[in-house]
C-alpha cells in the first residue's frame, strides 16, 4: 500500500487532472421533455454548477408548463448542491495533483474511493431533488391530480400526463466514469505487480 506506483501510472494520474477540469464545461446530465406537442423537445442540462435549458428560455418554459400541475420552479440559485459541487470536484482534481507528487498506491485507492463516493452521493442527491420536485406539489394548481406520479425519472423515460421526460447521463458523467476507469486500471495493475512480488 505504501509502495510507489509506476512512472507510467503517475502520468495517468496527471492526465486525469485536465480531463476532470473539462467536466466544468460540459453537462453531467440531461432531462429531455418530449411530448406530442413538443416536436422540439424542451431540454434541461445539469452542469456541476448550474442548470440551464438546452435552448435559451427552455427552463423558463418548463416552469411555465409545470405551474399547471403544481410543480415547483426550477431555480438554480435555490439549489445548494450547485454551490458546493464545483468545490468537491475541485478537491478531487487537487487530490490527483497531490497523488502525482506523492504517488503511493494508497493515494490511488483513496482517490478511487473519492470518485465512487462523489458519484454515489451525486446520484442520491439528484434523486432526492427529483423526489422533492415531483412530490412537493401545490395541490391547488389547476391540473393537479393526486393519481399521477409527477416525479421525473432519474434514468431512462417515463410518461407523466402528456409529456414524456427522459433522463440520461451526459458527457461530464461519462468523463468521470472514464477517470474512475483510469484509477481502477492503475489499482488493478499495481495489485498485479504487488502479487508478483
Amino acid at each position: 500500500m505504501n509502495e510507489n506506483i509506476l512512472q507510467k501510472h503517475k502520468y495517468f494520474v496527471l492526465l486525469s487532472v485536465p480531463i476532470m477540469i473539462s467536466v466544468y464545461f460540459v453537462p453531467l446530465w440531461i432531462i429531455i421533455m418530449g411530448g406530442v406537442q413538443f416536436p422540439d423537445p424542451l431540454e434541461m442540462l445539469l452542469y456541476v454548477y448550474d442548470i440551464v435549458g438546452g435552448e435559451e428560455w427552455n427552463i423558463y418554459t418548463i416552469n411555465d408548463f409545470n405551474h399547471y400541475v403544481g410543480m415547483g420552479k426550477i431555480n438554480a440559485e435555490a439549489m445548494p448542491e450547485l454551490k458546493y459541487m464545483p468545490w468537491i470536484l475541485g478537491y478531487i482534481i487537487l487530490f490527483s495533483v497531490i497523488t502525482f507528487f506523492h504517488s503511493k498506491v494508497y493515494m490511488v485507492l483513496i482517490q478511487l474511493a473519492h470518485l465512487t463516493l462523489a458519484g454515489l452521493a451525486g446520484m442520491v442527491d439528484f434523486y432526492l431533488w427529483l423526489y422533492k420536485y415531483g412530490k412537493n406539489m401545490d395541490t391547488t394548481a389547476p391540473l393537479y391530480n393526486k393519481v399521477f406520479d409527477y416525479q421525473p425519472p432519474l434514468f431512462a423515460c417515463k410518461q407523466i400526463m402528456n409529456v414524456r421526460p427522459c433522463s440520461w447521463p451526459h458527457i461530464g458523467t461519462f468523463i468521470m466514469l472514464g477517470v474512475a476507469g483510469i484509477f481502477i486500471y492503475i489499482a488493478y495493475k499495481e495489485r498485479e505487480l504487488h502479487l508478483k512480488k
Partner: protein, 645 residues
C-alpha cells in the same frame, strides 16, 4: 382514329404515373414525403413542402404563402390592408405603416411580390410588393415574415410596373400605370392627349438593411406604363417597362387605347440615370416612409420633396422599343440577353435582343423618331425574333393568344402565359420554337417558375395563376376564389400535378426553394431583446398607471393568465392596453379582446408587446379574454375591467 386517341390518352396517363412514381421514389428535395397519391403533389402529413410560393393578394392587399407542391396555404401576411385577425393596422405598433400623404389608408391592391437578389440569385432577405391604387412599395422581412417598411411613391398614379428589382438589390422601381399631371393640378382631363400629363419612373434605393428612399424620379411621356422587368448579367444596368395607350386616349380606352399596331417597351438604363441625380431638380413630392422597428411602434416619416429630371435631360437613360400591341409583361432571360415583350392584344411574343439594343443605341440609323426627346428605336433594330404559333400536332394547336408574362427555367426554356387561349406556351430560348402548351383553367394571368427571374432558375415547377375558376370548384355563390395550376417541368414534358384556390386575386407570385428560408424563420420574439417603450417583461411589473384622463394598463399574458388581476378606470378615460406575451415558445401567441372595443383582436406573439386604445364610455364591469386557444386553461384566461362613474 378513336384508337389512336385512346392510345395517346393512355400514354399520357402512363407519363403521369411514371412521373409520380419517380417523384415519390426520389422524394422531392431529399425525402419530403411527396407520394404518388395526387400525381406527386401529395405531401405526407408531417413532411413539408419543397417550395415557398409568395402570392400577391391582389384586391385583398396582402401576401399569402402556399407550400408547393401541395398547394396548402401556410400564412397570410398583412401588408397594405388592415387585418382584424391579428390587429394589423389597428394596433398602435402597425397603424403607422399605413400612413400616406392622403392620411391613414386601410386598403390597397397588391400585385407583384419580388424577392431580393444578390448577384442575380434569391438571397432570402426580403420580399417587396407594390400597392397599385395609392402608389407604394412594401418590404416584408423574411426572418419574421412581417411587413417592416412601406414607402409611398409621389408624382405617380397606379403603381403597376413595380417593384422589380436590380440584380444586387440596389434599387426597386415604380412606374405610373395612369399618367397624371405632374405636379398634380387642376387641368381638363382632355389635355391628357396634349402632353400636359406625364408618367414617372421612380428609382427607390435600398440600403444594406433594406431601408427604402427615393433617389430619383424620371419624367417620361404620358403613356400608361404597365409592367416591368429588370435586366441581369449582361443587361444588369437596365430595367424595362412596357407601355400601352401610346395613343394617349383619356376615355373609352378599351378601344381608343388599342389602335396602334405597336406600343413601346421603355428601356431604362438606371446606371446612366444614377449619374443624372446631381443634375436633377428638387420638386414637391409629399410622401411617407413608414418603418416598423423590431417589436416597437412603427415610425412614420413625412418627406416633402423628391429629385426629378426629364428623360430628355438625361440622355442615354431612356429608349423606346416598339413592341406589338399593348405589351403587358416584359421579362429578361437568365443570361440577360433576351427581352421578351408579350403583345397582350396580339398573338405574338416579341423577343428583343440586348446585344442588338446595345448596337442600336449607338447607331443613328436605328432611330425611327423621338418622342419628347426620347429616341424610338426601329423594331427590326432590336428584334431577336418572334415566337410563332406551332402548327397542329397530335390534335393540338399550340397557339398563344393574349400573351402576358414569361418566366424561365434551368433548361433553356421559356414559359409564356396566354390569357385568351388558356395555356402556358413552352418555347426554346434559342430557336424560339414552341415545344408544347400546358393547359390552364381559366384565363391565366401571371405565371411563375421557381427562381424564374434569377440568373440561374431553380426550375422544377411552374404555376399558372388564373382569373376564373368556373366549374373547377364546388359552387359557393356568385364568386369563386382564383385557382392555380401546378405543373412539374423537370422532365421533357410538363406534368400536371395539382390545382388549388388562393386568397384574394393573386396577380403574380414568386417562388423560392424551402431551404433558402425555412431554417432562418424566427420562432418568437426574445423577451431580452424587447425594447418596446411599453413592454412589461415580468409579471410583477404588471400595473395600471394613470396620467390625467389617460390610463395605461401594462398587461402581461402568459400560460394561462393575464396580470394585473383587475383593471379599474373612470368613465371618460382613454385606456391604453399594452399587452406583453411572456411566453417564450414557438407558435404560442395569446389573443387579447375587450368587450365593445373598436380595435379588433390583438394577436400577441411570444415576447411581443402590442398596444391598443379603448374608450371607457360606459359604467360597468367588462370582460377581456384570450382569443387564441392556448392551453387546457385557455377558457379561464380572462379578467375584468371596471368602469366607475
Amino acid at each position: 382514329m378513336r384508337n389512336l386517341k385512346n392510345n395517346i390518352r393512355f400514354s399520357g396517363l402512363l407519363i403521369v404515373f411514371t412521373a409520380s412514381l419517380f417523384t415519390s421514389f426520389c422524394g422531392l428535395g431529399g425525402g419530403n414525403g411527396a407520394s404518388s397519391k395526387s400525381g406527386g403533389a401529395w405531401i405526407t402529413p408531417r413532411y413539408m413542402d419543397e417550395v415557398y410560393a409568395f402570392m400577391s393578394g391582389g384586391y385583398s392587399g396582402q401576401v399569402s404563402i402556399n407550400g408547393i407542391p401541395s398547394g396548402r396555404i401556410i400564412k397570410q401576411i398583412p401588408v397594405f390592408s388592415v387585418f382584424p385577425e391579428n390587429g394589423y393596422g389597428f394596433d398602435e405598433e402597425t397603424k403607422g405603416l399605413l400612413m400616406t400623404s392622403q392620411g391613414f389608408l386601410p386598403w390597397d391592391d397588391s400585385h407583384h411580390p419580388v424577392l431580393s437578389l444578390t448577384n442575380g440569385m434569391q438571397d432570402g432577405r426580403w420580399l417587396f410588393i407594390n400597392a397599385n391604387n395609392t402608389p407604394r412599395i412594401a418590404r416584408i422581412d423574411l426572418d419574421w415574415f412581417e411587413t417592416k417598411e412601406i414607402i409611398e411613391i409621389p408624382n405617380s398614379a397606379g403603381n403597376h410596373g413595380s417593384p422589380y428589382i436590380t440584380e444586387n438589390s440596389d434599387y426597386v422601381f415604380a412606374a405610373t400605370r395612369f399618367s397624371v399631371p405632374i405636379p398634380q393640378r387642376d387641368i381638363p382631363i382632355e389635355s391628357m392627349s396634349k402632353g400636359e400629363f406625364n408618367g414617372t419612373i421612380t428609382m427607390v434605393k435600398l440600403d444594406k438593411d433594406g431601408h427604402m428612399s427615393i433617389d430619383l424620379q424620371v419624367r417620361v411621356p404620358a403613356f400608361h406604363y404597365d409592367k416591368s422587368g429588370c435586366g441581369k448579367a449582361v443587361s444588369k444596368d437596365w430595367c424595362f417597362f412596357t407601355s400601352y395607350n401610346t395613343e394617349q386616349a383619356w376615355k373609352m380606352m378599351e378601344a381608343e387605347a388599342s389602335q396602334n399596331d405597336k406600343d413601346y417597351i421603355l428601356a431604362f438604363n438606371w446606371k446612366v440615370a444614377q449619374g443624372c441625380i446631381s443634375k436633377a431638380k428638387t420638386v414637391p413630392g409629399v410622401h411617407y416612409r413608414n418603418y416598423h422597428p423590431e417589436n416597437q411602434p412603427a415610425i412614420s416619416e413625412k418627406r416633402t420633396t423628391v429629385k426629378m429630371i426629364d428623360a430628355k435631360d438625361c440622355p442615354g437613360s431612356v429608349y423606346y422599343l416598339p413592341t406589338p400591341k399593348s405589351p403587358h409583361g416584359v421579362d429578361v432571360s437568365p443570361d440577360g440577353e433576351l427581352i421578351v415583350g408579350s403583345g397582350k392584344l396580339s398573338a405574338q411574343i416579341a423577343v428583343h435582343s440586348f446585344s442588338k439594343l446595345q448596337k442600336a443605341i449607338n447607331d443613328k440609323g436605328a432611330i425611327e423618331k423621338t418622342i419628347d426627346g426620347v429616341p424610338v428605336l426601329k423594331y427590326e433594330a432590336t428584334l431577336y425574333g418572334e415566337v410563332q404559333k406551332k402548327e397542329k400536332e397530335a390534335g393540338k394547336d399550340y397557339l398563344c393568344l393574349g400573351p402576358l408574362h414569361t418566366e424561365f427555367d434551368n433548361k433553356g426554356r421559356a414559359y409564356t402565359s396566354c390569357f385568351l387561349s388558356n395555356n402556358i406556351m413552352v418555347w426554346d430560348r434559342k430557336t424560339l420554337d414552341v415545344i408544347e402548351g400546358l393547359q390552364t383553367w381559366y384565363n391565366i394571368g401571371h405565371l411563375s417558375v421557381v427562381g424564374g427571374n434569377t440568373v440561374k432558375p431553380y426550375g422544377k415547377y411552374v404555376i399558372g395563376l388564373d382569373k376564373q375558376a368556373k366549374d373547377r370548384m364546388l359552387p359557393v355563390g356568385p364568386e369563386l376564389h382564383h385557382l392555380v395550376q401546378l405543373y412539374d417541368i423537370s422532365g421533357d414534358k410538363g406534368v400536371f400535378l395539382n390545382e388549388f384556390p388562393t386568397i384574394g386575386e393573386p396577380h403574380y407570385a414568386q417562388m423560392a426553394p424551402a431551404e433558402l428560408l425555412a431554417k432562418k424563420s424566427k420562432k418568437f420574439y426574445n423577451l431580452k431583446d424587447n425594447k418596446h417603450p411599453h413592454a412589461t417583461l415580468t409579471e410583477d411589473k404588471a400595473r395600471v398607471e394613470r396620467k390625467g384622463k389617460e390610463v395605461h394598463a401594462y398587461v402581461t399574458a402568459t400560460l394561462t393568465h393575464f396580470k394585473p388581476d383587475k383593471i379599474e378606470v373612470k368613465k371618460g378615460d382613454t385606456v391604453y392596453f399594452h399587452v406583453t406575451n411572456l411566453t417564450q415558445e414557438y407558435d404560442m401567441p395569446h389573443g387579447f379582446a375587450v368587450y365593445g372595443a373598436e380595435f379588433p383582436n390583438l394577436l400577441v406573439m411570444p415576447g411581443q408587446t402590442k398596444s391598443a386604445m379603448w374608450k371607457a364610455d360606459n359604467v360597468g364591469v367588462y370582460p377581456f379574454y384570450c382569443t387564441d386557444f392556448c392551453s387546457a386553461l385557455h377558457q379561464e384566461m380572462q379578467n375584468y375591467i371596471r368602469v366607475s362613474p
